[in-house]
């Protein structure tokens, strides 16, 4: 079992607030991604969960039991660090057996368990190697295996993929996902890579500046951010302040139907890939249309990012196969249901 609850956790280091009022519930058997830019306090929060740092305030519960003051070695929580940290004075087998040996002599069951985990992490047959004889990917899998043999209630992973090259990363992502499904161990996974967080996890918790800003399913955070900071983090570049009244959103230039928007001052967010740029005015329909001029363009591979000046506002669109010139007159449109409205009191 591994249901982890953080209640109002806060931490100051050198008189600087690192974490503020963090409330988080990790459900049993869930893979939660702790996402945020570097310096947001993700790793610190993970270390608090592991017991390696004591929080200044707040409480932590594991399966309903308070563990705030329980030392790391007595918590049913194991952390895997960013670097593999295999003990260089031991073979791979002894590294993986390390945690079990701490509890006592290896039993036949323990050996069976080690074999099972080594097979699961694709390390079978490498038991006699020393740490420095393993490749980067093998070392990272060994670090994972060393934690998995203990069958912890919660497994904490601190950017375990950041040191791997892109090809290995994808393999390792799949491996972690598979292991999580097979074992059902609760996992908390720190990453600064939003794609990684969105594709791997059941839920994402976004941290900005030491605060948890939004926690929810990947699609919810991506399409329905609670505030402009979250929206910007996920690349919702078009943020328009305005007002919702009588089922319509009004701003200086825009007026469009607000499907389920809140009443009062609010911000409309539109993803750049939802915006279509056209050289000629489209037939009038339900979707709003704005005229503008191309400001600049940037080719990004699968799509081209286009900045369009529409009056006093700049609109960013991400469109595949966009062929325009700077200064060209264009028309911008987007489906009304692609507009996400956020009430301003969340700002």
């Amino acid at each position: 079992m591994g249901r982890l609850i953080l209640e109002n956790v806060g931490l100051c280091l050198d008189r600087k607030v690192v974490l503020r009022h963090v409330n988080l519930t990790v459900a049993n058997g869930e893979l939660l991604a702790l996402l945020g830019p570097s310096g947001a306090g993700k790793t610190t929060l993970l270390r608090i969960m592991a017991g390696l740092i004591a929080p200044d305030e707040g409480r932590i519960y594991l399966d309903g039991r308070p563990i705030t003051d329980v030392p790391p070695e007595k918590r049913d929580v194991v952390m895997v660090f960013q670097r593999p940290l295999l003990f260089p004075f031991m073979t791979l087998f002894n590294n993986i057996a390390f945690g079990l040996r701490v509890k006592g002599r290896l039993t036949a069951d323990d050996r069976h368990q080690i074999d099972r985990i080594m097979a699961m992490t694709q390390l079978d047959g490498l038991g006699r190697r020393q740490a420095h004889q393993l490749s980067g990917g093998q070392q990272q899998r060994a670090a994972l295996a060393r934690a998995l043999v203990l069958e912890p209630g919660v497994l904490l992973l601190d950017e375990p993929l950041s040191s791997l090259d892109p090809n290995l990363r994808q393999q390792m992502r799949d491996l972690i996902g598979n292991i999580q499904r097979q074992t059902g161990i609760t996992m908390v996974f720190v990453t600064h890579d939003q794609t990684e967080a969105l594709m791997m996890s059941d839920r994402v918790a976004l941290m900005l500046d030491g605060r948890l800003r939004q926690t929810g399913a990947p699609k919810q955070l991506f399409y329905h951010p609670v505030d402009p900071d979250v929206a910007r983090f996920f690349g919702m570049e078009n943020l328009i302040t305005g007002h919702c009244r009588n089922g319509y959103f009004h701003s200086a230039q825009w007026r469009m139907p607000a499907l389920d928007g809140p009443a009062g001052p609010c911000i409309a967010a539109i993803r750049p890939e939802a915006i279509r740029v056209m050289p000629t005015r489209p037939d009038p329909g339900a979707d709003p249309v704005l005229a503008g001029r191309i400001h600049r363009m940037r080719f990004e591979g699968t799509a081209t990012r286009v900045w369009i000046d529409c009056g006093s506002r700049q609109v960013v669109a991400l469109q595949a196969g966009a062929e325009f010139e700077a200064g060209q007159q264009v028309y911008v449109t987007f489906p009304v249901d692609a507009v996400h409205l956020m009430p301003v009191e969340n700002v």
């Binding site: 070695e73 952390m79 003990f87 260089p88 060393r146």
Partner: protein
């Protein structure tokens, strides 16, 4: 180094290191050797037999005293050097240069001054002419070196290994034995060897603080060199060199095999 230079430098180095041993070896295995002769007139093992015979007992007990004393100094140096080196290597704090200076001071100040100063204090404290006093005086020289070596070891030490081990279930006090010592093992061996060898060669401090009561191998050797029995003096000289040779072999073995991996 280019190959041509290596061909000249390495043999020169070898000769420079080995040349002083040639007369020692010749003397140690000679029975008769008179002045103008380039080599001993007669070879023999008399000096070696003398050592183990009834008359050589004082040399053997000096050897035992030296081994015990230096081992104690090495052990103490490492026991104090590990926490000190860990603190200096892992933490940043104000006044680190002051600590550096204090550690260096016994090395900078001439050993004669240190020994004389200590002697006055030790007389008052009742430590003069005792083994404990001699050990303490040796520590003033050996401990700085041990601290230096371990400072270097810990400045490249990654304490995350300890966090990882704790998360894997190792208690706070077992971390030392299960993780830290194995990781810094090679460095500890070097520090202990340094301290042992420095203590092993001490003459002045042993003489002044020990006051003739604590008789180590260098004390005996100094007396023998002034005497007339050159072959025995040569044998004791060779005994004095042996730990250094052994240390060289041990360090080459234990460090060459495993190196300093793990401390990065």
């Amino acid at each position: 180094m280019p190959a041509g230079m290596r061909r000249i430098v390495l043999p020169l180095l070898g000769i420079g290191v080995l040349l002083p041993f040639v007369p020692l070896l010749l003397w140690a295995f000679s029975a008769r050797w008179f002045y103008p002769d380039p080599f001993p007139g007669q070879w023999g093992m008399r000096a070696w037999r003398y050592l183990w015979g009834p008359a050589g007992g004082y040399i053997v007990s000096a050897l035992a005293a030296s081994i015990g004393l230096s081992a104690a100094v090495a052990l103490l140096s490492v026991l104090i050097g590990i926490p000190a080196g860990r603190f200096l290597g892992l933490y940043r704090f104000r006044g680190k240069w002051l600590v550096l200076l204090l550690v260096l001071l016994p090395i900078i100040v001439p050993p004669f001054t240190v020994a004389m100063g200590l002697h006055l204090w030790f007389l008052k404290l009742g430590l003069a002419e005792t083994v404990a006093g001699v050990i303490l005086s040796h520590l003033t020289v050996c401990l700085p070196y041990a601290v230096f070596v371990l400072w270097g070891v810990f400045s490249r030490y990654n304490p995350e290994f300890e966090d990882q081990a704790r998360s894997l279930g190792v208690g706070r006090w077992l971390i030392w034995r299960r993780v830290m010592l194995p990781l810094i093992g090679p460095g500890v061996i070097i520090a202990a060897l340094f301290a042992f060898l420095l203590s092993w060669g001490q003459y002045l401090a042993t003489l002044i603080i020990g006051g003739g009561r604590v008789v180590t191998l260098p004390i005996v050797l100094f007396a023998l060199i002034g005497g007339s029995d050159r072959p025995v003096a040569a044998v004791v000289s060779l005994l004095l060199v042996m730990p250094a040779m052994a240390a060289l072999l041990i360090s080459a073995r234990s460090l060459g095999r495993r190196g300093m991996i793990g401390i990065w």
